[in-house]
């Protein structure tokens, strides 16, 4: 008994020491989307940041809606999100500073190989969505207020389909991240809207294939936003700036473009100095 | 006899008009007696007479509802001058040695002192061979012996024993009785509760006869067995009272 207590005490002390040692190193907290994490982008990019800047970036991967919430409460230093409308509202409310559009990829409509709604090969996402709505065939929605979810809802709106009424029938709301929702779609042979990065890196596809891509409405812009230090004194302003400067620098942009999943480029860097921001 | 630091014996123990009520029933009624140093006293009486309650009052873990219980030497710290062995003693989950040492540790006795005392108790109680055994793996007789050894380790002036052989076979009973006699001969006052007439005859120097919560006799063992004054005691001797 006494020995066990000793071991536990040692562990606790060790943990606290490890913690304080870590706290001593420079790090920032980045609230980001599940898509950027699940695709493996951060596993590739963050070690480069560490090597280049000596800054450790700790990623908390949640939906865009929750990432914005974390920023609002001051629980993150930088956000990497993809919902233009939500981002602008966030800036408007004064929660963020220095919004920079940094890279994009696109959404793809994925569904079962059998394609019961017959949408395969289409170029118009809204048409495909209305076909799915008309067939009342299973569609898996993240329903987690993420950037992807918000984009999906806009497409339903364009297609003139009322998914709220269909919730629980053919419209399945998972309330989960991209990967978890892909697992549901794979299990139930549902259609779903996915970001290309997660789709490319997803291993449990089963019968799912890519059906619709290339519509301009499927464009998926990612932005960096620094949390407003005027509102949250704990924000690590200097380090955060260092990080966003690096990601938008020519080197950072090239590194983003170099990330590949099975030979396919996942994110396209598109930062324009003095370009669209607030 | 153990003498308290002030050089005064704790005994006699005096009961003055002591009653004990549990719930709405009076379990002990108007007890008046004096327990003095000397030969072993047997508290005799049939089942349900209140023997255990009386011992617990003496021991101090029960308080009387009425009346007064006091030791002659004022300021005596009861726990240090007397000890009790319950009918079903609880063995601590540790070795025999550790069980004997336990009350000594509670009293803050130094390690060296303790070792000497424990060794002496082990020899005197014949538990030497079992010293390292786990207490709970002992037989009933051995456990009873250990319980007595543990109570005796603090060198009490008076030892209260509650039916120490109630659940033992004749051989074990005999061994325990021998141990008790030896302790009594060594100068420790023993008050032993039993309903076993044979045991009372074998051990008693004095008899307290308790019946239905009343103390009916306090007399020498010889006088009691020759012919008690009280009719209930006579009935008990004839085996006409339930044991």
């Amino acid at each position: 008994m006494r020995e066990i207590l000793n071991v536990c005490a040692l562990l606790l002390i060790g943990l606290l020491q490890a913690e304080s040692a870590r706290a001593a190193t420079d790090f920032i907290t980045l609230a980001s989307t599940t898509s950027t994490q699940a695709s493996g982008f951060f596993d590739y990019f963050l070690p480069l940041v560490k090597a280049w800047l000596g800054v450790e970036v700790r990623v908390v991967a949640v939906g865009t809606g929750q990432a914005l919430k974390l920023g609002e409460r001051g629980d993150a230093d930088v956000l990497l999100v993809h919902d233009r409308i939500g981002e602008l509202a966030f800036m408007q409310a004064g929660f963020g500073v220095d919004r920079r559009e940094v890279m994009y990829n696109d959404f793809v409509l994925v569904g079962p190989r059998t394609d019961p709604a017959g949408v395969r090969g289409g170029r118009d996402a809204a048409v495909a969505f209305s076909a799915i709505g008309a067939h009342k065939t299973c569609f898996a929605s993240r329903a987690d207020d993420s950037g992807t979810h918000r984009a999906e809802l806009r497409l339903w709106h364009d297609a003139g389909v009322d998914v709220h009424a269909a919730s629980g029938t053919w419209y399945r709301e998972t309330g989960a991240g991209m990967g978890a929702t892909l697992n549901v779609a794979a299990g139930l042979d549902c259609y779903l809207l996915a970001d290309r990065a997660t789709w490319l890196s997803f291993h449990n596809r089963q019968h799912l294939i890519l059906l619709v891509e290339g519509d301009s409405r499927l464009f998926n812009q990612y932005s960096l936003i620094r949390v407003n230090p005027a509102r949250h004194p704990y924000v690590k302003q200097a380090l955060a700036l260092k990080f966003v400067d690096f990601m938008t620098s020519p080197i950072g942009q090239r590194l983003i473009g170099d990330f590949r999943i099975t030979e396919v480029r996942v994110f396209v860097p598109n930062y324009v100095r003095g370009g669209p921001s607030t | 006899m153990t003498i308290d630091p002030k050089g005064q014996p704790a005994l006699p123990l005096v009961f003055q008009a002591v009653s004990l009520q549990i719930g709405s029933t009076k379990r002990l009624n108007d007890l008046d007696f004096k327990l003095v140093a000397g030969p072993l006293t047997v508290l005799l009486g049939p089942n349900g007479a209140g023997k255990t309650l009386l011992l617990k009052l003496c021991h101090g873990i029960l308080a009387p509802s009425n009346g007064r219980i006091f030791w002659q030497s004022p300021g005596t710290l009861a726990p240090n001058r007397q000890a009790m062995v319950f009918q079903r003693p609880v063995m601590l989950r540790r070795s025999v040695v550790a069980n004997i040492a336990y009350p000594l540790i509670l009293r803050g006795m130094s390690r060296a002192h303790r070792a000497t005392r424990v060794a002496a108790v082990l020899t005197q109680t014949g538990l030497g061979a079992l010293a390292r055994r786990a207490a709970r793996t002992l037989s009933a007789g051995e456990q009873q012996r250990l319980a007595i050894a543990r109570a005796w380790s603090i060198e009490p002036e008076i030892l209260f024993l509650d039916e120490p052989t109630a659940n033992l076979d004749p051989t074990a009973t005999h061994a325990i009785e021998d141990l008790i006699s030896e302790i009594a001969r060594g100068g420790t006052k023993v008050l032993l509760a039993t309903n076993d007439l044979g045991q009372a005859k074998r051990l008693a120097g004095e008899i307290l006869f308790l019946h239905r919560g009343r103390l009916l006799e306090q007399t020498s063992a010889q006088a009691f067995f020759d012919g008690p004054a009280d009719p209930a005691a006579r009935a008990f001797l004839r085996g006409e009272l339930p044991w």
Partner: protein, 242 residues
């Protein structure tokens, strides 16, 4: 066909698990070590508070004791995510303890697991100590034990059963995912533990890797509980017969 798929998935998972373990995969080792560290720390803290609390509840009548007991028993079934959410609101920079900067740190995870395990430790140890107290009270009083001495004796006499309680707490802490995900954030190399990794790998569709980690978790649970069982058995033989 589904059966075939499942069998393949399982054999693949076991192969993956075995390969990961055999190669001593550094990421795996790190995650397992962090899980153990966080959960053991949590159990240590929960024991430090929960055992005395359980003892107090068992031995010491005080006003509000019954209410506290009911609350503790109810809290045993408290969903960890709720604990996680409450702790998040407290530790968030916008919350009352935001100044500590503990959110998304292993310390926050230890706190969360401590809160989850504490009711279990307190309630179960209370039960054990109350039973022991019933058995021992008279004897300990008779032998001259003061309140604190009696408490120490009871804790020692109940050590094997209390250890089982701590292990039950450890099992719950190790298996918990909801709360540590919320307050830890599943940050790679900082707050990523076995369960959050399993959730992440599952969401990536890496079912084999997720299952491999799951298998390791199961084996760990077996090893820990097996060790406790053996300890208890040997303990019984040496000092106990029941």
């Amino acid at each position: 066909m589904l059966a075939d798929w499942a069998v393949n998935e399982f054999s693949e998972a076991i192969d993956t698990a075995w390969a990961l373990i055999r190669s001593g995969d550094p990421v795996l080792v790190e995650i397992v070590a962090r899980s153990l560290q966080v959960s053991l720390s949590a159990v240590f803290c929960a024991g430090l508070v929960g055992l005395p609390l359980g003892a107090c509840l068992a031995l010491q009548p005080f006003p509000g004791r019954q209410i506290l007991l009911v609350v503790l028993n109810a809290a045993m079934g408290l969903p960890p995510v709720v604990v996680g959410l409450l702790l998040y609101l407290l530790l968030s920079r916008a919350g009352p303890f935001g100044f500590l900067g503990l959110l998304f740190s292993p310390t926050a995870m230890v706190l969360a697991q401590t809160l989850i395990v504490l009711p279990i430790v307190a309630a179960l140890s209370r039960q054990i100590l109350a039973n022991l107290w019933e058995e021992y009270r008279e004897s300990l009083q008779s032998l001259g034990a003061s309140g604190w001495q009696a408490l120490g004796t009871l804790l020692w006499e109940g050590r094997f059963r209390l250890l089982t309680v701590l292990m039950a707490g450890f099992g719950r802490a190790m298996a918990e995912v909801g709360a540590v995900l919320i307050v830890g954030g599943n940050i790679a190399h900082v707050t990523r533990v076995m369960t959050t990794t399993i959730a992440l790998e599952t969401s990536k569709g890496n079912l084999a890797l997720a299952l491999a980690l799951g298998l390791i978790l199961i084996v760990l649970a077996l090893v820990v509980n097996g060790a406790v069982f053996l300890m208890q058995e040997s303990g019984k033989q040496s000092v106990d017969d029941n």
